[in-house]
Symmetry: C4
Subunit: 286 residues, 4 copies
């Protein structure tokens, strides 16, 4: 859907997930650090949230696929037109393919909650593949467009491939809060950038067209991409602070005398340590 | 062999290995998780399979080399023609070189079963090199061809270099089931894509030629590559489920009262843990 | 600020930080190896230095932003000129954006000293992002310039992206002295190279212009970049030796009889071991 | 020195080092696995060899620098000619710079044997930098040459940058025998390839010139590069086997009854385990 709505739809999905992650991961991190209520309750709770996340991801992708296929000017599931000897609406098919890979990632998330013993990290690998395929299709998608159009999509690719690489790292460094926060910030960036693409290429309120060949516009857009990331970091910081304040209030009220029992090992929270430092600690304890 | 058979032959090899891996690695993983019969018997059994795999790899490659050299229009081991002052059938020589590196990988697999103490990981390094060399030769192989021909081979390179990098990681993260499943899926993808290349460039039943300069064809082929990967993932999922059902039935029948003895440490299966999580567990246990 | 001062300002900042790091990290490393005074005092002292470093980074960046915005020919915070229908002084805006990301990195450094529990490694991630954004903006900054101008900035990108990747590694391998020394050397290289760019493109004493299209000049500049790195390594080596001599004199005077108590575990300094070797040691001790 | 000797000189250096490494690392690995004589004697012996290696590296580089500067048509330390307003013999200067970085790597090797506490891994980092700088200068060295000349040097870059990345990994995975063998094979490849470049571009016995624009020649050269690597692997395999036979004969003769005492922990040799597998073992032992 080469119009504003076609960019607003995926933009909303990414923004929603990015915002949700920017609350979820700080929440888990702060909760673990405060250590009230025990870890078992917490992880049971977060596992249920992960399941809901997977289901939502799957639903959103089905909506996306159906929207791409059955909008009035869509391909309606026809791939090849025998009469015209040509492919039908390949761009809609490409977008459907992107949604399909995110749907597969959603299914993987759900399957990890069935009794089938899926290897840990498979969900991250499939998410990484979905993000990679999105970038892969975008990369070969830009042939013969105007310079500004190519450039504005190329910038997106930086966020996309950066995200794919970072999620691939999570396969091996699971539950690393830094990587999870980084992923959240890139998801927010992608979300807002999809809106920016929509606003630039298809001004929604009938505003003036951008001159798609002027080099200054491309320079501005590059810089604008960085400002979007500053915005994403700001949102992350605000959410983190709010979550931390909330958790602290909870633990103060509920925690009370539990805190005393736990005071002995405050330095053992684990999440504040790099791999090597952990090793050094071990040595000292020996 | 620039014809359909020349693509079907390597395609079959990759497909065969991919399918075999997509059974072997889930089998080992499910078996380890169910923990019946002990690990020793299992690994002895799998080691014998690895040896057979190495021997088959070597045999297939010898077949490939001989086929490339001694087909009627092959070079018959002649490299340089003195009369014509030109190289003889360089493309066949290149394909022979690709097979040669896979043969070296096969020999390495076999050598690890001799009493010579080969460093662990050498077999993975050699496999990674073989895949890399395949990609390397393909990369410099595309000069002066039609755009569709170049593009369809470039897509293959994504699977090839992705596979080479993933196998290189296995040198250091040996027996990581995620990487092994990823490798299997890429091998299946390569196998089916070789067939796809054959069908597009040399339609076997005298079908109509593809227009090799039409841009829509290239857009379709890019998307088609993603669908092949969806197919590969589907095959992997089916094989995994079948293997898991089989293993569960076996362990139920044979396991019986053994299961009880093992119930104490169900969380210690190891294969479900990332590096960091493992560290956190250690801390808790201290 | 496309003049000599505009390159001398960031050059001085990088040089200052590089030189400071080339003293700080050897100091910490030598001190830890000599083990006098205990680790606690030391880390408290270094933490205070880290805080000061963060504050200085923030201050320098504010100076940089203000200088870029309010020099006589700067944009004075105007982004778009309605009259001329064009962007105002985009290059100054780009430089401001670069400083902004370093400022965010400085703020992150400071926040880690507040009671808010920031995940360890966040400061390194933000520094890595700042360096990456610097390279990212430079990369899209070179359109339509002379070949020498493009080339001399491209060389800078090697140091910049190398630095970003190395700092990203520090997120996971925190306090790895090799990575920290590498970062220091790249910071010094960047600093001196900014001055070199200034001298080549805007000869300050009215010297003769360089012929910006002569290929020999580009060959020389490439080699000159390597010599700058040799210079950076020389500075590092001198600082390291001086620091080591100083620490040894201190520990001899103050240490005295403390040394004896610590002689039992001289091989446990940890910092001299790679990951794998550490594992092997563990095995031997078991 | 753009002639056959100018390529034979560095080629001999790389070949010598590659061959030496292909004996040294298998020797250390086989010796450690056989565990006769204890580890302490062994490492003292190998450390002395490392020192000699560093000194030789430094000497070779000084020879290289002097040869590049003071051959009859060399620059004789003149960099800029005031009369002709041009740079003097930049290619010789570039080669001198390459040797300079290897010399720095040699100095670092030597310094690790002085009482100054150099962080472990610094020698590998400097070697990696030297290899990287070699590739970096070659990369910008190819402007305006014939296609075959550019291509034959580009192939070298694959070995060079591959080597630089692999040595950089050794900073963190020190004494990993796989990486060391890989480095040895790439050094041999570089050595033989320098000779190949010399033979192709400057046929030494007045043989016929290669047609530097014929595409078939480039295809052949690409394949030839792979064959060189096959040759390097063959040399590695032969040296490994010879070393292993030698070590086994030694240990049988000297070892005798020592072997019995060590039979209890044959699985603890460490070097045959990947990172993850090691972790799994730990779990089982707990």
């Amino acid at each position: 859907m080469a119009n504003f709505k076609g960019h607003a739809l995926p933009g909303s999905f990414f923004l929603l997930f990015g915002l949700w992650w920017s609350i979820k991961y700080p929440l888990r991190y702060c909760w673990q650090n405060s250590r009230v209520g025990g870890r078992t309750t917490l992880s049971a709770c977060f596992q249920r949230l992960d399941l809901i996340e997977g289901v939502l991801k799957l639903l959103f992708c089905l909506v996306g696929i159906l929207a791409e296929q059955f909008v009035p000017d869509g391909p309606h599931m026809h791939l090849y037109s025998e009469e015209e000897h040509s492919w039908v609406k390949l761009m809609n098919w490409q977008h459907s393919t992107m949604y399909l890979f995110y749907a597969i990632s959603g299914i993987t998330d759900i399957v990890t909650f069935t009794p089938i013993p899926t290897p840990q990290g498979l969900d991250r690998l499939m998410l990484s593949m979905a993000v990679f395929v999105e970038g892969f299709l975008f990369y070969f998608h830009l042939h013969g467009r105007s310079p500004l159009d190519v450039h504005i999509h190329s910038l997106l690719l930086v966020a996309v491939f950066g995200g794919a690489a970072s999620i691939f790292l999570e396969v091996f460094l699971r539950d690393n809060v830094i990587l999870e926060l980084f992923r959240s910030s890139l998801a927010i960036l992608q979300g807002t950038w999809f809106f920016q693409i929509g606003f630039v290429l298809f001004p929604p309120n009938g505003g003036p067209q951008w001159d798609e060949n002027m080099h200054d516009n491309m320079t501005f857009i590059t810089m604008c991409f960085c400002w979007h990331y500053v915005g994403a970091l700001l949102i992350m910081a605000i959410n983190y602070t709010v979550v931390w304040c909330g958790v602290r209030r909870c633990t103060r009220r509920e925690g009370g005398n539990m805190e005393m029992n736990l005071q002995k090992k405050p330095s053992k929270n684990g999440s504040k340590k790099g791999l090597l430092q952990h090793c050094e600690d071990e040595e000292e304890e020996e």
